[in-house]
């Protein structure tokens, strides 16, 4: 398996495949389906200081080759995650990337400080891009100055490397990427969902109770690839790419554009075994491309 292994800040991964935050819960459900130790890493669901109950239902809606969601950062809160969720995952040989969310800088700092001390949390992912909470993360993700300051604050307290998850709902994602790099981010994860809406055919009202939701799935892949491609050119920290990944070819595409690893979100709902399947398919793809080690293809679009 060493053909697929690589090193990222905080993480030595067996392979670059990891479930994306919010699409894998805290891993428990999927651990009944397959051995989570197969995964490169796990990005757990966003954790906030307090318990969040999230948005009213319906929270999901299907769209052309995609879906909308407005879960609203529902999670049991920092204390429960530390006490129950993270310890459960310790039985697996897999590094955890903890997705950190909040409303104020203090929130992020509090979660980051605490959660980065968990033994299996090897990196943080600052969610400055969730489109589904009213007062919250999203402004951090659209203003480079605020984003940079947040990263600086979190870097001061985190025991592990800090990745920042970027929002695609911006005029210039490169600007934000550079800002978080300047703030000391160890890596970038991208993209979060695009803000979208679906209307009920009869009533004309939004299907999702929250009104808008975040668009994910194959539909957004061209936007995600373009953004990874642009950010790769502009920063020197590694990128974990995501947005519509469903198979090994998509992984090759994201890594070609410049991602060092790839996260799989929506595809877990379509096929809960998709991550191990992709990991199995990858060596064959490398064979076809005549590549020895997966990491050789990182950024090949730019050559």
């Amino acid at each position: 398996m060493s053909r697929l292994s690589l090193h990222l800040p905080g993480l030595d991964v067996k392979n670059p495949i990891m479930p994306a935050s919010g699409c894998f819960g805290f891993g428990k459900e999927f651990s009944n389906l397959y051995d989570l130790s197969k995964l490169g890493a796990i990005m757990i669901k966003a954790t906030t200081v307090e318990t969040r109950i999230g948005n009213p239902t319906p929270r999901v809606a299907e769209t052309a080759a995609g879906m909308l969601n407005a879960i609203g950062l529902q999670n049991p809160g920092l204390e429960q995650v530390m006490k129950n969720e993270l310890p459960y995952l310790e039985r697996f040989d897999v590094p955890i990337i903890a997705n950190v969310a909040g409303t104020t800088t203090e929130d992020y700092v509090e979660v980051a400080k605490e959660i980065s001390t968990a033994p299996n949390v090897k990196a943080l992912e600052l969610n400055i891009s969730c489109p589904n909470v009213k007062h919250g993360g999203i402004t951090f993700g659209t203003d480079p100055v605020i984003a940079r300051e947040l990263v600086e604050a979190v870097k001061k307290v985190s025991e592990v490397p800090v990745y920042v998850k970027l929002s695609p709902n911006v005029t210039d994602i490169v600007e934000i990427a550079k800002a978080v790099e300047a703030g000391g981010a160890d890596g970038i994860t991208m993209i979060n969902t695009l803000v979208g809406m679906r209307l009920d055919e009869r009533t004309g009202k939004p299907v999702i109770a929250n009104g808008t939701g975040g668009l994910s799935g194959p539909a957004v892949k061209p936007v995600a690839i373009r953004m990874v491609y642009e950010v790769y050119k502009a920063v020197n920290i590694p990128i974990i790419g995501m947005g519509g990944v469903t198979n090994a070819q998509d992984v090759i595409d994201f890594m070609s554009a410049g991602a060092s690893a790839v996260a799989v979100g929506t595809a877990n709902f379509v096929d809960p075994f998709v991550c191990p399947k992709i990991i199995e398919e990858l060596p064959g793809k490398l064979e076809e491309l005549g590549v020895k080690r997966l990491k050789e293809i990182i950024g090949r679009s730019h050559l």
């Binding site: 819960g25 999927f30 049991p76 469903t246 877990n268 709902f269 379509v270």
Partner: protein, 257 residues
């Protein structure tokens, strides 16, 4: 255990207006229980993308066959309705907890209340209750006669009463109207159907033990995405349940209606 399997279509037919009965063959049938559901991927392409949750209506472990009954209305179910005998269907399941069959003592009576496309899971339930020596009374509401199904099948299992909104079949009105009239004697009730029906039922038999099966829009179907949350009446911190993995069946009083 939850498995993913390409099950084989062994029968499919339209049994009422836009209502299809589909029988699938595969290993996962061995793990199925009444009230559980399967999550069906109707196409191998990205269109439509998400799986469709459909209740298990009948389980035949000897033949490795399970039947589902569904209304083909939207995009996904319409595609499903075009599957031919011999085609493969990607099924994830069985999912959810199912109805507690042993909640009624042997020799007791169960009241099964269903509304429209909520009726199917009650069929396997009735089978298993009857197999345990429990009498079943069936009270089902439909919109019109056109979309009624399985009258004969349920009649062979127990007293069966239909009510339709337009009176085109059985009495006219809602299941609660009919229950008011029938005043059935029973020990435990099981219900599946639209929310207003479930809500009405909860208040109807305050003294009785009852189990309600819920529906909610789903993403994963296995408890990981938090799409299918229902608020509970519980005032503690953990004041929600997931329909897909904690449910779809909850004892009366659990879900905040």
């Amino acid at each position: 255990m939850i498995q993913q399997e390409r099950m084989i279509v062994v029968r499919q037919s339209e049994i009422a207006h836009h209502i299809f009965e589909l029988t699938l063959q595969g290993q996962i049938v061995q793990d199925m229980n009444p009230g559980q559901f399967v999550h069906i991927r109707v196409s191998d392409s990205f269109e439509p993308l998400l799986r469709r949750p459909i209740s298990i209506a009948n389980i035949n472990k000897e033949a490795n066959e399970a039947t589902v009954i569904y209304r083909a209305e939207g995009r996904g179910t319409s595609i499903l309705s075009q599957k031919q005998v011999g085609d493969e269907v990607d099924v994830l399941g069985p999912l959810g907890n199912g109805f507690p069959v042993d909640a009624v003592r042997e020799g007791g009576t169960a009241l099964l209340v269903g509304g429209g496309i909520g009726v199917p899971p009650l069929y396997e339930l009735s089978h298993q209750l009857n197999a345990r020596g429990i009498r079943t009374i069936h009270v089902f509401g439909f919109a019109t006669e056109q979309v009624c199904f399985y009258e004969d099948q349920f009649t062979t299992l127990g007293d069966t009463h239909f009510v339709t909104v337009d009176g085109s079949k059985g009495t006219k009105g809602f299941v609660t109207d009919l229950l008011e009239e029938l005043k059935p004697e029973f020990d435990v009730f099981y219900a599946c159907g639209p929310l207003p029906m479930l809500r009405a039922l909860e208040g109807f038999y305050p003294e009785k033990q009852g189990y309600l099966s819920f529906e909610e829009r789903m993403g994963c179907g296995i408890g990981a995405c938090f799409a299918c949350i229902c608020q509970t009446t519980d005032q503690s911190d953990k004041n929600y349940v997931k329909v897909c993995s904690d449910g779809p069946v909850f004892p009366k009083g659990v879900v905040d209606l």
